[in-house]
Amino acid sequence: MNFNATLIGQTFAFVVFVWFTMKFVWPLLLKQMHDRETRIADGLAAADKGQKALEEAAVRHGELVEEGKQHAAEIISQAQRRGDEIVDESKSNAKSEGQRLIHAAEAEIEREKTQAREDLRKEVATLALAGVEQILMREINPDAHNDIITKLSSEL
């Protein structure tokens, strides 16, 4: 065991290394680790929050689905009702339209009947007149008796 100046060199080196660690290593590392600690804690808290939000969202989701189902059912029943109404309406419409057509046809028939009778009457009058004319040709002056013929034909 010779002691020599290595002792002093080592002590000096020791002081320098401790100083270096104290200044440039330890505080940085400790700060870094504390920062990470808070970050991890924050992250865990955020994860918890997210979990909670997810649960709430799941509940809300269930509610929405339920609501949607109800709404859909309502819409379907409404549509059914409306369909029934439409069917009824068109039934009655068709009925009244048919009625109207029947009436129109009847009126047309009536009108044609009247027309035909009118024509017939006119023709009969003409025929009668022709006959009368033939008969009276010789003894009646058409000019003198024209008023009687006209009166007769209007009476027919």
Binding site: F3, F14, V18
Partner: protein, 296 residues
């Protein structure tokens, strides 16, 4: 290895391994080990243990101090690199290891040391990692680095002691640093008077002032020994453990090819000793400083 070096006896082999590479000044008219006489005083490397002794105090163990400083710089560099890359994200690889160390040291310091000090924890970290690194050099097979150094320097008889903690200069250098801090904290916390009182008024104490004066020398001797014993035991414990282990590695290295299993077994066992001694050094440093820090 002894067989390869041929002429070396096992005794010489071990002695060669235990001799430091000493750089110092030899006086004028000094007859060197090879018979050459120096005309004037010269700074040189010692070529024998006797020359190393004759260089006196102002000589340096180039090998152990060099390795010690190199490992210290290595420690500072590696840890600073991790510390500088301030990332809050998940640490990986070496950063994990560094943080493990820091956490362990921080926990131990806060468990033992109750004052508030910016110095103690970094001090403990430096001691722990640095001493581990220095002890680790013991795991490197005993002849590798010396033979490498001898080849590189071209001097086949170059002394090259690799494990810094097997050099008492190194361990005492550390413990002197701790000792200075013990005295510094004692005086800082208790004042000069308080420190002196602590050394002279315990353990024997009397209300009678004349009796007390008689007690003072005894107290001083007891407390003084107690105080000095701290750095001495700190340094000698580390030195003794590593020196003994190194010696056993040397003995194993002389077994020829049989050394391989023995070396492996002893290295495995020694892996337990390495961090344990570093841990003990660190813990005792913290304990001593916390004792110095506490006021009674």
């Amino acid at each position: 290895m002894a067989a390869e070096e041929g002429t070396l006896t096992s005794n010489e082999y071990i002695q060669h391994h235990l001799q430091n590479m000493v750089f110092g000044k030899l006086p004028a008219d000094y007859e060197r080990v090879d018979g050459q006489v120096l005309e004037q005083a010269a700074w040189t490397l010692a070529h024998s243990p006797q020359e190393a002794k004759d260089m006196g105090f102002w000589a340096v163990n180039v090998d152990t101090l060099g390795w010690s400083v190199f490992l210290g710089i290595f420690f500072c560099f590696m840890f600073h690199r991790v510390a500088k890359r301030a990332s809050e994200g998940a640490p990986s690889g070496f950063a994990n290891f560094v943080e493990l160390m820091v956490e362990m040291v921080d926990k131990n310091v806060s468990d033992i040391f109750h004052g508030k000090s910016l110095l103690i924890a970094p001090l403990a970290l430096t001691i722990f990692v640095w001493v581990i690194l220095m002890n680790m050099m013991d795991i490197v097979p005993v002849d590798w680095l010396p033979i490498l150094a001898q080849t590189l320097s071209g001097d086949p008889h170059l002394y090259f002691k690799v494990v810094p903690t097997t050099d008492p200069n190194i361990t005492f250098g550390l413990s002197i640093g701790v000792f200075i801090l013990i005295i510094f904290y004692s005086i800082k916390m208790k004042g000069v008077g308080g420190f002196i009182a602590e050394l002279t008024l315990h353990p024997f104490n009397s209300k009678n002032i004349f009796v007390q004066i008689i007690f003072i020398p005894f107290n001083l001797v007891l407390e003084g020994i107690g105080l000095i014993a701290k750095p001495v035991s700190l340094a000698l414990r580390l030195f003794g453990n590593l020196y003994a282990a190194e010696l056993i590695f040397l003995l194993i290295a002389m077994l020829g090819y049989y050394q391989l299993p023995f070396h492996f077994v002893w290295a495995v066992f020694h892996i337990l000793v390495i961090p344990l001694q570093a841990y003990v050094f660190m813990m005792l440093t913290i304990v001593y400083l916390s004792m110095a820090h506490d006021t009674h």
